[in-house]
Symmetry: C2
Subunit: 120 residues, 2 copies
Amino acid sequence: MSLKDTLREIVENVDGGLAAIIMAYDGIPIDEVIVAETEFDLQLMIVEYATVLKEIKRAVAVMKVGKMEEVSITTGQVRVVMRVLNDELFAVLVMAKEGNFGKGRYLLRLKAHSMAEELG
Amino acid sequence: MSLKDTLREIVENVDGGLAAIIMAYDGIPIDEVIVAETEFDLQLMIVEYATVLKEIKRAVAVMKVGKMEEVSITTGQVRVVMRVLNDELFAVLVMAKEGNFGKGRYLLRLKAHSMAEELG
């Protein structure tokens, strides 16, 4: 299964799924599937969150609590789950506020290994 | 119910609950209940995560996606859920990796309003 197919499978099987994206920490998207228009600027959001994730990775490294695995951020309008794939890349699932957060997290975790393998 | 009682109720009713803390963004704990020793430096972790949360708050403000409500960070050893109480304070639940994440998030959300009221 291609990366795009995997991203599509994740986002289409979660109630409220808006987009699934593979990103580098520098904010560059590697692959993405966007299934719904958003009222906010999706590209701006994921670039800002990539910066945030880099900051968390730095903080986690000094704490000796294991490697960063997953970060989720909920705001008034949107939920975002980010899961680390390897040292350079992470997967992002963007969901509507009332979406199925538990299933979103589950699917992202379930597919993380195969996405990481696909990315070499 | 006092703030400490509420924190205790949250952390003692979640499988894997280690600590519940009310923090300011500058990294100063307002109140805390710690129910289990951790292998890592809990105080260092929450100070680092307060800095991270301030960074996320700043990023969210430029995105127009509503206010920051909840952030969770999972590493190899520990899960942390943070919920905004007001402009200055947030509540933190620290859990073992295999703890009941869903229930932890639920209890923190459920009690956020009363904690915010208690804090004036």
